[in-house]
């Protein structure tokens, strides 16, 4: 094996992850290879200074409030979903009733009624068109399973 093949073992040796047999073989290699020995020494120094870096532990209060923070986020998420669904449902119902009343109202001008019906028909056509296009692309997209 050439030195390049020992680079993984160099890491394993440094982190005490080699089996006894691998360790012996690597030490045999080290005995006859000054390049790997020098590299190992450099990595040992780097590991020593990296191991000295320890991260600040947050105050106990932060840990005590940690799970309640998560609970609050979940609770708010559920609240927003319920609010949004209800708002959409009520808007649709209210809109439907308002249109119904306007259409049935004999005093309302015919232009207003025709315009409103055309507006609804236009929206419906746009919605169906976009939906159909999306469905087509979704069916034919070869990369749909690729994670972005």
């Amino acid at each position: 094996m050439v030195c390049e093949d020992y680079k993984d073992q160099l890491m394993g040796y440094l982190d005490n992850e080699l089996s006894d047999q691998q360790r012996r073989r690597f030490e045999e290699h080290l005995a006859g290879c000054s390049d790997c020995t020098a590299e190992l020494e450099e990595f040992k120094k780097l590991k020593a200074i990296t191991d000295e870096v320890s991260l600040v532990e947050p105050e106990e209060r932060i840990w005590q409030e940690y799970w309640s923070g998560i609970y609050n986020r979940i609770e708010r998420g559920i609240g927003w979903i319920m609010f949004s669904v209800a708002a959409i449902a009520l808007s649709i119902y209210g809109g439907f009733r308002a249109i119904e009343e306007l259409i049935k109202n004999p005093d309302a001008e015919i232009v207003l009624k025709v315009g409103l019906l055309a507006l609804i028909a236009g929206l419906a056509i746009l919605f169906v068109s976009v939906l159909r296009e999306r469905l087509y692309f979704w069916k034919t997209d070869r990369y749909k399973d690729v994670r972005r």
Partner: protein, 155 residues
């Protein structure tokens, strides 16, 4: 909880963001808990959620700093060096701060193996399981991560 916080801190370098992102990861894990594959542990799955959140956070941050609208074809971002502030590290030691900032300059795939190995003390096997890769990949990434870290510290 502590693992999630410290991993996020190692990936984004900022205490407030680490707290926020680790909590958000738990919220998303709760919402998608049915996606955990039977026979596979919770932690590797959770780690992917946390990592993706941290990477998109770094991306957004870099994006807002650069003020660019180009969102396509970007490589995974290194953290902003300013984010790796000394107040996340114990002690007022200049060498430790330099190491911490150098970790912040690593590519995410290199930074994560350093974080998991040095700050969470995980074995190669545990890292491999967490990253859904084999031990060979872990050792190779550690080799290149440390090599890059050496270069950064010597400049």
């Amino acid at each position: 909880m502590k693992d999630a916080y410290f991993i996020a801190l190692g990936l984004v370098g900022n205490r407030e963001d680490a707290l926020d992102l680790s909590q958000e990861a738990f919220v998303r894990a709760y919402r998608n808990i049915n996606q955990v594959k039977p026979g596979r542990g919770f932690f590797p799955w959770f780690y992917q959620i946390l990592k993706n959140l941290c990477i998109s956070h770094l991306r957004k941050r870099k994006h807002s700093q650069a003020g660019s609208l180009d969102v396509e074809g970007r490589p995974e971002p290194a953290a902003s060096v300013d984010e790796f502030s000394p107040d996340a590290v114990v002690g007022k030691d200049e060498t430790k701060n330099e190491v911490w900032k150098a970790i912040g300059k690593l590519e995410p795939k290199h930074r994560e193996v350093i974080v998991l190995r040095h700050f969470r003390n995980m074995s190669y096997e545990q890292i491999a399981e967490t990253l859904f890769c084999n031990k060979g990949t872990v050792t190779s990434r550690l080799y290149y991560a440390r090599k890059r870290l050496k270069e950064l510290l010597s400049t």
